[in-house]
């Protein structure tokens, strides 16, 4: 869990972000090309039209207020279609979203906080998103299936963990803890795209916002591994965790998935490893970081494998490099897995500084070429 950033569903929508910088947006202002103009201020969020044709829609936002703002295009259930952060006072930005016919909400967030000022808008007609290649469609379909499977398989494991907590069985709960997280860690960028679930189930104590109650896996991790106790509040949290994960299981099939979002999701998984796991911050009480680490890498590798029919044609050198670096990192991780049949890895507090450096080097070696996957998938 980390602060909001370009999530898997929004990756499709960043194409226009650069045009604002290079001045192309001014051209479209002049020509009246059907872009939806949004006037954002500290107290209002006015849209130039509340109905527009479905398909590729450009939102031209101008911040007339005094605070930095951000613009969201949302589904009615608050899932994010597209977003653009950090729009300074007096500046313009544009975002592009691929919208099917249906209802949406536009939210301006002056000060980049809260739910924002909302407008309901509608995309109409039969305009459709861009035609994709059969390989791309296959990748999207397979990835959608994968994330659903991961959620489906995670629920029983999370239930076993929750049951142990509720039974007050500390040892059993400790054993079930890291296993209950694997499916989540494999597909985290998709889970993060439903803005509200991730902060409930995977937030760490240092990630809490003022007033936010600490719930989820890591609160229980602290009780089990640091405090070595289970109290009534923990038992309740275990139930809440299952409720939240059930929500995730229900929603995950609806995530907006594109080839580039799959690729960016893979990169984000490696970012998670590089910033949270390789430092030992993620599982600071249980020290099961290497389980998460492996799951993140597996999720990234799955995404890559699904895109390979595309990227091996558009950028064969990149594919070769990724094959090599995935293998190298997996081989390195195997050194910390005494029982190859189980997801049991060396506790991270037993991994020395030099070994952590070696792991970090291997992560950099993979993540750098992986950052080029999205472009290869979009070619």
């Amino acid at each position: 869990m980390r602060p909001a950033r370009l999530t898997v569903v929004t990756a499709v929508a960043v194409v226009a972000a650069l045009s604002a910088v290079t001045g192309c947006s001014e051209k479209s202002d002049a020509s009246g090309d059907g872009a939806v103009r949004v006037k954002a201020s500290d107290t209002a969020c006015e849209v130039s039209t509340k109905e527009f044709p479905a398909g590729k829609v450009v939102f031209e936002v101008e911040n007339k207020g005094s605070k930095v703002t951000e613009l969201y295009v949302l589904f009615p259930d608050d899932r994010i279609v597209a977003e653009r952060e950090n729009i300074g006072p007096g500046t313009k930005a544009s975002i592009t979203a691929e919208l099917k016919a249906g209802d949406y909400e536009i939210a301006c967030k002056p000060g980049m906080k809260g739910d924002g000022i909302r407008q309901t808008v509608k995309a109409t007609g039969t305009g459709t998103v861009e035609k994709r290649s059969p390989e791309a469609d296959a990748a999207v379909a397979s990835y959608r299936k994968y994330v659903q499977e991961q959620a489906d398989e995670t629920l029983p494991k999370a239930q076993a963990f929750a049951d142990a907590v509720k039974a007050g069985d500390i040892e059993a709960a400790k054993k079930a803890y890291s296993l209950s997280r694997i499916g989540w860690e494999r597909t985290e960028p998709v889970a993060e795209s439903f803005g509200d679930i991730d902060p409930k189930v995977d937030v760490r104590e240092d990630g809490l916002e003022p007033g936010q109650e600490w719930t989820g896996w890591h609160k229980l991790e602290k009780s089990l591994f640091a405090d070595n106790k289970i109290d009534d509040a923990d038992k309740k949290l275990a139930e809440t965790l299952i409720a939240d994960l059930t929500e995730w299981q229900k929603k995950v099939g609806q995530a907006e998935i594109t080839p580039t979002s799959i690729a960016n999701g893979a990169k984000e998984l490696l970012d998670e490893v590089a910033t949270g796991k390789v430092t030992g911050e993620e599982e600071r009480y249980s020290h099961t970081d290497l389980v998460d680490f492996k799951a993140n890498v597996e999720g990234a590798e799955k995404a890559y494998e699904l895109l390979k029919p595309i990227t091996s044609k558009t950028d064969p050198a990149l594919s070769a490099e990724l094959d090599k670096q995935f293998a190298a990192l997996n081989n390195l991780l195997e050194k910390y897995r005494p029982n190859k049949a189980a997801y049991e890895y060396t506790a991270y507090d037993k991994v020395g500084e030099a070994e952590r450096k070696e792991l970090s080097d291997a992560v950099n070696a993979l993540a750098e070429p992986l950052s080029k996957l999205a472009a290869a998938a979009a070619k």
């Binding site: 990756a11 960043v14 194409v15 972000a17 650069l18 910088v21 290079t22 580039t260 690729a263 960016n264 490099e321 670096q325 500084e353 450096k357 970090s360 080097d361 950099n364 070696a365 993979l366 993540a367 750098e368 070429p369 950052s371 080029k372 999205a374 472009a375 998938a377 979009a378």
Partner: protein, 424 residues
């Protein structure tokens, strides 16, 4: 063929009006960027040290091509980012490709251009080739100097075991050394010097990024306030102890001294290294707080020079010939002087460093010592043996990092690359 021709060419290529990094952006392709670099490489002749100063303020580019690598004898810039790398790949071909890629990037950056296709304007789904923090900044006399550590020549690694020159010794542990392995060694090093720290940091960052998977940064050091000068007509810089440092350094224009003490000659052994040099890097921590509580008289006795003018004991001017016997027997200058070391002379290019404070609240500061020489065995080693044994300055300093590298000759032209003579 002769060195003087090459140096003249270098000087003539000095480019006062260096193109800014912005100039070639958005046009896509290293080819064009290179063309612009070449077109910019005419202009003013800079012959003397004072002109070098104006070159600095103009943000000029130092020529990348030449018989020797830039960044050794060329005028010392204000800032340093030095990085040592471990080579991770086991594939010789891949290492060679990396060195070629590094050379290409260095050629662009030293001319004031971004690497690859630049910092923006490329594919929106791909991270830009250049990270962009030096966009709009001038070349700032950036020099990039590469070196090869002993590990590269290890048996069974890259087939280079027969090419390790005898003069590339594994440094002995000197008395008083407290070396941190995490700040020592490395298979490769890159010394980035520039007048703008952002330009130097940018350069190392790009090379590190290009290297991921093939190399990994082992350690790096930022430096400021050059402590040694290769341009004697500039004011001698002061080190963190407040003393002028580098008064007697080899001048970058003293070709005879460079030939004698710095450049590896044809018959020296390791033919691939002819025109190159050897680099010793030492992180020397200073006990700043206790030094600052030392009386002026004792400080001056320790160095053997006065603090204000920098004159040697018994003399009135900084550049007066030192009379060693007038100094205390264990004074730093006396022990380090060539006359006390059978003529051993090195070219120093060190920088001060301050990495904030340590856990005890003491300034983590000192000298990042860089010395170039023709042979480590007759350069740094005898001098350091003498200093480590007797120098009274040792009470106030500690060597905490150490590395040694063979520095290959310069990249001759656009088809040449760092290490060609070793690997080709």
């Amino acid at each position: 063929m002769s060195e003087s021709t090459s140096e003249q060419e270098q000087e003539q290529e000095q480019d006062k009006g260096a193109p800014s990094r912005r100039a070639v952006l958005g046009w896509g392709g290293a080819g064009l960027a290179l063309g612009a670099a070449a077109a910019g490489g005419t202009a003013a002749v800079l012959a003397s040290g004072s002109d070098m100063v104006s070159a600095a303020s103009a943000g000029a580019a130092v020529p990348f091509h030449g018989e020797h690598q830039a960044g050794i004898a060329s005028a010392v810039q204000d800032r340093l980012h030095f990085a040592a790398f471990d080579v991770k790949t086991k594939d010789r071909g891949e290492l060679v490709r990396l060195l070629k890629d590094w050379t290409e990037a260095a050629r662009l950056m030293t001319a004031g251009h971004p690497v690859g296709e630049g910092g923006y304007g490329g594919h929106p789904q791909a991270p830009p080739d250049d990270t962009g923090e030096a966009l709009g900044l001038k070349a700032s006399r950036l020099t990039l100097t590469v070196g090869f550590g002993p590990g590269l020549f290890a048996k069974g690694r890259f087939g280079l075991e027969g090419k390790r020159p005898d003069a590339l010794v594994d440094l002995e542990l000197f008395p008083g050394d407290n070396l941190d392995p995490a700040r020592s060694g490395g298979d490769l090093c890159v010394q980035a010097c520039a007048d703008d720290p952002q330009v130097a940091v940018h350069a190392i960052r790009q090379l590190a990024r290009i290297g991921f998977g093939k190399t990994a940064v082992r350690w790096s050091q930022l430096g400021f306030g050059k402590t040694s000068s290769t341009t004697p007509d500039e004011q001698t810089p002061r080190n963190m102890m407040g003393f002028k440092d580098g008064t007697r350094n080899i001048a970058g224009t003293d070709k005879a001294a460079l030939e004698k003490h710095v450049w590896v000659g044809a018959g020296d052994g390791g033919d691939w290294l002819t025109g190159g040099s050897y680099l010793v890097a030492r992180r020397i921590r200073m006990n700043i707080e206790t030094w600052d509580r030392t009386s002026l008289g004792e400080q001056e006795d320790i160095f053997g020079r006065d603090k204000g003018e920098g004159a040697p004991v018994g003399k009135s001017k900084e550049r007066d010939e030192p009379f060693l016997k007038a100094m205390k027997p264990e004074a730093h200058v006396r022990l380090a002087h060539p006359d006390s070391n059978d003529g051993a002379t090195i070219l120093r290019r060190g920088y001060s460093f301050t990495d904030g404070t340590d856990g005890l609240g003491r300034l983590d500061a000192g000298l990042f010592f860089l010395a170039y020489q023709r042979d480590v065995r007759t350069g740094f080693v005898p001098i350091q043996r003498k200093l480590a044994k007797s120098d009274v300055l040792n009470e106030y300093i500690q060597h905490v990092g150490s590395a040694v590298f063979a520095v290959p000759p310069g990249v001759r032209d656009k088809d040449d690359w760092w290490g060609r003579t070793l690997f080709a």
